[in-house]
C-alpha cells in the first residue's frame, strides 16, 4: 500500500497517455460485458432450463402436432411426476410487427410445471374461472400497456376463427419472476378455449408439445427412450429430450453465436493488450534513469519489478472495473437493445467474475516485459544512457 503514492505519481507524469490508456481498457471491458450479455441472450436461458423437465415433440418436426390422447398415456409412466402441454398460437397484437410468444396451455398444470413464474393466487383463480382468460408476463404487459381486466384482441396467424375475427382474451393475471433472465414476454391462455373453436379443423384435439416433470433427472435418458419406444411405429412418433438439450438445439439453429461473440471479445481484448503494453513500455523507457536512481537508493530488483507490475495492474483494474461496471448498469437498466426479440439479455454474474480475472491477467501481461526489463537494469548502464 505504501507504494501507491509513487505509482500514482508515475501514472500522472503523462496524464494524457494514462487517461487514453485507461479509456482503451475501459472500452474493451465494456464491450466484453456487452458481448457476454449478447451471448446469454442467444443461449436463450439454457442455464435456467429445469433439470427435471423434458419435452415430448413430434418426431417429424416441431411444427407437427401430437394427439391430445398422448397426455393420459404419458401420465401412467413410472418416473413421470407431472404432465402438461401447450400449442404455439403465434398471434400478434394489432400489427404484424407486434409479435411476442403466445401459447394455448393447460392452465391447471402449466404454472405448476414452471415454478419460476410467480402469479398471485387470486389472479390464478380468476384465470382458471374465465374461459377466455389469459395471463401475460410483466414485460409484454408493460410493452403494450395492458392491465388486469383488459380485453385484448390477438390476430391469429395459424388458427383463424371460422368467422375470421381476431381472438379476444381477458387479461386475468400478470406473472413475474424472481429469477433473472426468465422469459417474461409470453402470454398464456386456455387450450380448451382454442380447441373448442377449432375442433373441426385438422388442428382439433391436437397439442403442440408435452412437457413432463420427472422424479429423477438421472433417469431421464432412459425415460426418453421409453416414451419414444411407446409411440414408435404409430402414425405420430415422438422425440423426447431434456429441456436443456431442446433449448440448446434451438439456439444452435440460429448459428454459433457463442463462437462469434468469443471471437470478437478476443479480438477486442488483444487490441487493448497491445495498446496498453505499448503505453507501458513507452513509459518505462522514458523513466530509465529514474529507475536507476531508485535502484541506487537501495530498491532491489524484485521491488522495482513489483512497482512496475503494480502500475500496470492499477491501470487495468481501474479501467476494467469501470468498463465491466458500466456494462452491467447498461444491460440491467436498458436491457434488450433490439426491443423485444432477446428476452434473456442479461449479464450473468459468472461472466462478471471471468471479466475481473481477465482484467488482472491483462494487468500482469502488459506489465510483464517492461517490469522484467526494469528489474534487470544495470545501474551504471542506465545512468549513462542519457
Amino acid at each position: 500500500m505504501k507504494y501507491l503514492p509513487i505509482v500514482w505519481r508515475n501514472l500522472m507524469r503523462r496524464k494524457v497517455r494514462t487517461i487514453f490508456t485507461l479509456l482503451s481498457i475501459f472500452v474493451a471491458f465494456l464491450l466484453f460485458g456487452y458481448l457476454m450479455a449478447v451471448r446469454s441472450a442467444f443461449n436463450m436461458g439454457i442455464d435456467l432450463a429445469g433439470a427435471d423437465r423434458m419435452m415430448v415433440l413430434n418426431k417429424i418436426s416441431i411444427i407437427m402436432p401430437l394427439p391430445y390422447s398422448y397426455g393420459e398415456r404419458l401420465k401412467t409412466l413410472d418416473g413421470v411426476k407431472q404432465v402438461t402441454y401447450a400449442n404455439w398460437f403465434g398471434g400478434y397484437y394489432q400489427e404484424t410487427k407486434n409479435q411476442f410468444p403466445n401459447m394455448a396451455v393447460d392452465a391447471a398444470t402449466w404454472m405448476a410445471m414452471y415454478p419460476e413464474f410467480t402469479l398471485p393466487e387470486d389472479q390464478q383463480k380468476a384465470w382458471m374461472a374465465d374461459r377466455e382468460g389469459a395471463i401475460v408476463g410483466s414485460v409484454t404487459a408493460k410493452r403494450f400497456g395492458w392491465k388486469i381486466g383488459d380485453r385484448v384482441p390477438l390476430q391469429a396467424t395459424i388458427f383463424s376463427r371460422p368467422d375470421r375475427r381476431a381472438w379476444e382474451f381477458n387479461i386475468r393475471g400478470i406473472y413475474d419472476s424472481p429469477v433473472k433472465g426468465t422469459d417474461k414476454t409470453q402470454l398464456f391462455f386456455h387450450w380448451e378455449f382454442l380447441n373448442e373453436v377449432i375442433k373441426d379443423t385438422r388442428f382439433g384435439n391436437q397439442v403442440g408439445w408435452y412437457v413432463i416433470k420427472v422424479n429423477d433427472p438421472e433417469q431421464s435418458v432412459a425415460l426418453a427412450k421409453k416414451i419414444d419406444t411407446m409411440f414408435a411405429n404409430s402414425p405420430t412418433e415422438t422425440k423426447t429430450d431434456s429441456e436443456k438439450n431442446f433449448i440448446a438445439g434451438w439456439a444452435k439453429q440460429i448459428g454459433n453465436i457463442s463462437l462469434i461473440t468469443q471471437f470478437i471479445a478476443a479480438a477486442a481484448l488483444f487490441m487493448m493488450l497491445l495498446v496498453t503494453a505499448n503505453a507501458m513500455a513507452q513509459s518505462i523507457r522514458e523513466r530509465t534513469s529514474e529507475l536507476a536512481v531508485l535502484k541506487t537508493l537501495g530498491f532491489g530488483d524484485g521491488k522495482v519489478l513489483g512497482l512496475v507490475l503494480l502500475e500496470s495492474c492499477v491501470l487495468a483494474v481501474v479501467g476494467g472495473a469501470a468498463g465491466l461496471g458500466l456494462a452491467w448498469v447498461l444491460v440491467t437498466a436498458i436491457g434488450d437493445p433490439t426491443g423485444s426479440f432477446l428476452p434473456q439479455f442479461i449479464l450473468p454474474p459468472r461472466d462478471l467474475v471471468i471479466g475481473m480475472i481477465m482484467v488482472v491477467a491483462l494487468g500482469f501481461a502488459t506489465g510483464a516485459v517492461p517490469a522484467l526489463q526494469a528489474s534487470r537494469l544495470r545501474i551504471v548502464d542506465a545512468l549513462r544512457r542519457n
Binding site: K59, S61, T157, I158, K252, G255, I264, A268
Partner: protein
Amino acid sequence: MLSQIVTVTGVNLRSIRERLGSSIVAMVGIAGVVVVFLGVLSIAEGFKAAMATVGDPQTVIVMRAGSDTEMTSGVSGDTARLIMDTPGIARNERGPIASPELFVIVGHPTKKDPSDANVPLRGVSPGALDVRPQVKIVEGRMFTQGTNEIVVGRAASQQFANLSVGSAPKWGQNNWQVVGIFEAKGSAAESEIWCDARVLQPAYQRGNSYQSVYVRLADSDGFQAFKDALTSNPQLSVTAIREPDYFAAQSDVLNQIIRTIGFLIAGLMGIGAIFGAVNTMYNAVASRTREIATLRALGFGSMPVVFSVLAEAVLLSTLGGLFGGLVAWAAFDGYQTSTMNFQSFSQVAFAFAVTPKLLGTAIVYAIFMGLAGGMLPAIRAARLPVVTALREL
C-alpha cells in the same frame, strides 16, 4: 506553404521507421476493428443477399389473409383453383403459370452437428419451375410426379447431412429418395427440399389443402390489377405479395438484430481504437518534440506541422483498414453457414458476403478513426512552445 507541407510530411513519414513498434500497434488496432466490423456486417449482408436475390417482381405469392409467412398460411384446394383462375396470370400450353405449394419443416441433422435442424420441405405443383425461371436442376433430374422422390437445393445439400443424389432420408414414417440438386442463383430457395405437393399432403395430413399459391404475372406492372382482382372476389380471403417484398419481410427480424448489435459492437471497438490511435500519435509527437521545435525554429509554420501529424495518422489507419479488409475478406467472404429464419422457424443457408460496398465503408471508417485519433496530438504539436520544447530531452 505547400512545399513546407510536403517537406514536413516527408520528414515525418520517413521517420515512422524509428517508431515502428507503436505505429504497428495503432495499425493492428484499426485493422482489428475493421475485421470485426466486416465480420459482423458480412453476416447481415450475406443473409440479405440470400433472401433478396429471389427478387423476381413478376412472381407473386398468394397466402391466406392475415398470414405473414407461408408457414402459418392455409389455402384450400378450391381456393387455390379460384386464385389460379384470376385474370392477370401468365399462361402457357398447360394453362395459367402457377404452383399451389405446401411449406413444412422436417427435423434433419446438419453436417457439423448430429442434432436436428428445422429444414424446410416444400411440396410443389407441376408449375413450380415455370413460376421460378431462376431455378435450374444442375445435377440428376427433377422428381417424377406422384412418387416419393425429392430434389434438394444446392445450399441445403452442402449444409445438411446425407442429402446428395442417391441418398434416402426418412422423416417420420415417410421414406424419400433424392434424385436431383437444384440451384436458384444463391437465393433462399436453395436451402429448401422440394417434393410433389400431392405426395406431401397425405404425409402431413393436409387433405387437399395448400399453404400458398405462387403465380407468374402476365406483365411486370400487372401486380396492382391482380391484387385488386383477388381482393374484390367475395369468395376469397387472401393476401398477395411480390416475391422480393415477401423475402425482404422474412429477413426483417434477423437483419434488425444483427444490425443493431453489429453497429453497437463496431462502434464501441471503434472508440477503443481511436483511443489507441490518440495514444500512438501522442507518443509519436512526444518522441519528436525536439525535431518539431527545430523545424518551427527554422521557420516552418504550424499548419504544415498539423498536416504532417494528421497525414501520418491517416496513412497508418488506411494501411490498417486495408490490411483488416483483406484479412476479413479472406477469412469470411463466402463462408457457408445457416441460420433460423425467425418468421418461419426454418433454416436458411447463406454465405457471409464481404461486398465491395462494405469494404469501402470499412476503409472510410478506418480513415475517420485515424483522423479522430490524430487531431488532438496534431494540435498539440502545433502549439509546442519552441524554446521549452528545444530544451526537452
